[in-house]
Assembly symmetry: C2
Homo-oligomer: 550 residues x 2
């Protein structure tokens, strides 16, 4: 501070003494610099981010950037082998070594894309799903071990005196670090598929109208769907145990504490959920859940000359944006040709994010790109439709900009996301395996030319954008809130301190039932006793009177 | 618009032609006026407010004023005999004739104040509570009939083409009007004591940690408290039926529809709840609940010369603010003397809102006022403590300005409010009937001189005020949202379309249990059959071998 002070004052009194206007400006600038400097000193906190790769990383980036703009130091801890987690001027990246190679990671995701378009018999699909769950568990667990047992990194984290951890709760690793460093945490998520988010927040989750992931149900279910939702809901909690219980050993090893993963998750101060009820179905929530759905489409950047020129040339027909997400950029050639054929039938220009070999039947209206500025293209008034894999980020971008969608879900929560948009009348869902070129062409024409799709998505867009505070501002507010108040204990429900018998008042109900039965029993016995006494007396009296008469 | 245009343009070209700077300013002003005029034309909606009297009215007033400032026309429908509902420049007041007199109303509230300080035996209290509930029901029902069957008023409401109804849901009358006019509604409330708010929103309400009104429980209950909470929770729903079922006849008469009060309440688009979780205990909520706790202490006005001078003269000891709310301004002289004695023992100057005869033992440090600018006084740094009846408005003002409290609850939800503040270590609760002058003096000294009380209330204040958007802005945003989108159907949970058997998945559980038992039964039968076959075969074989050996 001293050097800054002497520099600006020196400047003022040496070079610019004679120019009074300039002198005045410099004087003001000096105070401004002081103000900024002190503001940063007094306000700036230290934020540790423990994110996941892929679209999860892309969605947390704007928050990290905004936090840095507001004077905080942001440090992201990421594996040294990753897909998208690149360094930036906005945050410090600290890496930890992992045991797999970049090739392995890329190939795994490529396989995921290829397999989504291939038919698999039911049993094979089930077996593969279980194998996938086991692989993911091992992957997260190994990654977490590599982070926690990286002595240099842990020492650095301890010495850095962070104020808060912002983490992706799909892996509990970030919360183990938060517990180790004794600092509060915020979970940044769209929910945990097996339902650990509801359990971790003690949020009621009525299975009668809250559809579980992977069921394809909406919030209005038939009896059969409710049975299916009930069974899958109960089954998913078992899957949760299967996926997360190995972490309990790690918790004991690293934190020297007996703690279940559920207890670990219940420590989060705030859940920043990428939810909005134009997309999600209304359901019970908790006070420490903050909804920031649509955070990823806040900022539209101008398009490059190349894209501007394509959009301009597309004329009154406009363009269609087509992307299968950040993780799937190529598919089997046979399927690519079928898709290319479908795309060739519409008058719109199609911008397709595709890194594979160009299909030989690619029509003139279809242009391939290694990368698309998806959100900026969707924001353009010439965009008529969006073909998407139904990832939540893409869908929010479609909603933000009011673009009707053709949804080709591939894996994870995508099928459920697609159902949500279809149930709102804002898109058409296609089956990645079964769809033909004609199906794609028909779906595309329908969402473009049947006005109801555009009207419905514009209605959703208008509801979504009519909000008192922008999701990015909201997210940053709550990160700063947790830093300033060292958590948000006033939002933690007392339900965390009850066991399930107490939570559901089972002990109270048993007591009241027992008391009622006891009361009824005593009343009955009392009545019987009285009746007996009464009858006996009558009997004795009648006997006596009989004997007298005899 | 034409006249405005010709006036400003006429002005521009006649008087100020030669002065170019002034000309320019006028030109800009013209456009600005046009903008404001069109903005008001395009934006201004029509808001119908159906409020209740007393503190409920005081709390809804800022919203009405802000809506008028934002260009909306606000019309409040109130009974012609009322206590506080005065006309204003900010809204139009339409009255309907009622059958009681101003004297009756004032006397009823005076009685309420007097009785709160008198000991009543348990049975008498219970009988009187039931009588009170019956009176209130009759009062609301009669008022509602007078409104609905006032032909001129109803014709005016129909002709006015309102966009939205903002109403107090303690009486369902506003929603009957909303249904009749087919316009969306917002409920402005702090909750309905008998739990109809939870039922009307389909909000889960676990009785194991959500304390019911009138129990005096916190969110951490012993087993006995949980039993008491469970019983009272169930009992309150019966009270709800008792209080609100007479309205169902009125609904049928007026709307010509069979509709329960619960169905009527479930039609609300948004519930604007005067809640904040520094005061309320964290509990499940629903997406159409918007929390605007502390809305009444947003604006601090400067104090008058009289109050400024008293505060100035109070020196380093400062002042104590004492009010029993807008409805209770005098009590029995004997009790007033006891209170006056207690107040005289502290070095602070006490500002007491009291309209009764001044107690003869009133100390020099105590000053009586017919009315106090409570919020503005609490906002003053010289205010050391707040003696309050623990109404939610006063408590929020105390929290906003970080003033520790002595709580003397009188009736309604006040005892529960007091428990909340005591459980946060920010105040001391006294029993209005039993308290002595010494109790009051001790409590006052403790909250002023034991630093923990000040620290705790300041912590609550700091949490409460650290919010991304001000409660008044939030309330106005949602009123405008409902006007613009003609409701908030996207926030309505599908739970409203289920009966209770479906909601609790009882039909699903029964089916699954039946299927399990059937499976077990068939398996058992199968096993028994196999065993029998097996044993019979063995028996036959052994018999045969025996006969052969013989």
């Amino acid at each position: 501070m001293g050097s800054l002070h002497s520099f600006t004052f020196g400047l003022k009194f040496s070079i610019i003494r004679k120019n009074s206007m300039f002198h005045y400006i410099c004087q003001q600038a000096t105070w401004f610099l002081f103000f900024i400097f002190f503001w940063r000193l007094s306000y700036g906190g230290k934020v540790l981010v423990i994110p996941l790769d892929g679209s999860h990383w892309l969605s947390i980036q704007p928050v990290m950037e905004r936090l840095q703009h507001r004077g905080h130091q942001v440090v992201a801890v990421v594996p040294d082998v990753n897909l998208l987690m690149k360094p930036s001027d906005h945050y410090i990246v600290k890496t930890f070594a992992v045991s797999y190679s970049k090739e392995y990671l890329t190939t795994e995701f490529q396989k995921l894309g290829y397999k989504s378009f291939v038919h698999q018999p039911f049993l094979e699909r089930i077996t593969e799903t279980f194998a996938k769950i086991r692989n993911i568990t091992t992957f997260f667990l190994d990654n977490c071990k590599q982070l926690l047992y990286n002595k240099d990194l842990i020492t650095y984290l301890q010495d850095s005196k962070f104020n808060v951890v912002v983490m992706d709760p799909v892996s509990p690793c970030g919360q183990i670090v938060a517990e180790y460093l004794s600092i509060p945490s915020l979970f940044y998520s769209r929910g945990i598929p097996c339902g650990l988010d509801s359990e971790g927040t003690m949020c009621p989750n009525p299975l009668s109208y809250v559809p579980k992931f992977y069921t394809g149900n909406t919030d209005h279910m038939t009896f059969n769907q409710r049975v299916n939702n009930f069974l899958l809901g109960s089954f998913q909690l078992m899957v949760c145990y299967f996926v997360y219980s190995p972490f309990e050993v790690l918790i004991k090893e690293f934190l020297h504490r007996d703690m279940t993963v559920l207890e670990l998750y219940s420590q989060a101060s705030i859940w920043l959920l990428r939810y909005d009820f134009v997309f999600e179905y209304p359901r019970p929530i908790m006070p420490n859940m903050i909804f920031i759905g649509g955070i990823n489409c806040a900022k539209d950047n101008p398009l490059t000359q190349e894209f501007e020129s394509i959009l301009e040339k597309s004329g009154k027909d406009g363009v269609v944006v087509f992307s299968l997400g950040s993780m799937v950029s190529e598919i089997q050639n046979k399927k690519a040709m079928e898709i290319a054929e479908g795309l060739g039938t519409v008058p719109q220009t199609v911008l397709w994010r595709y890194t594979g070999e160009a299909p030989i039947n690619l029509a003139n209206n279809t242009k391939l790109f290694n990368w698309l500025p998806q959100n900026d293209l969707l924001a353009h008034p010439k965009t008529r439709a969006f073909i998407t894999h139904a990832g939540s980020h893409g869908i929010y971008e479609g909603i933000c900009h009011g673009v009707p969608m053709v949804l080709i879900p591939l894996f994870g929560d995508q099928a459920d996301n697609a159902v949500r948009i279809v149930s709102r009348g804002a898109g058409i869902k296609l089956d990645a395996v079964k769809m033909t070129s004609k199906d794609l062409s028909n779906a595309l024409r329908t969402v473009i030319y049947d006005k109801r799709y555009k009207e419905n998505i514009q209605r959703l867009s208008s509801l979504h954008l009519d909000r008192p505070v922008e999701p990015l501002d909201l997210a940053v507010h709550w990160v700063e809130f947790v830093m300033k108040h060292k958590g948000a204990a006033h939002l933690r429900p007392a339900a965390h301190d009850l066991n399930w018998i107490q939570y559901y008042s089972i002990d109270v109900i048993v007591l009241l039932l027992a008391a009622t039965f006891l009361f009824l029993f005593i009343s009955l016995k009392g009545c019987l006793f009285c009746c007996k006494k009464c009858f006996c007396k009558n009997a004795r009296l009648s006997k006596r009177s009989k004997s007298k008469s005899q």
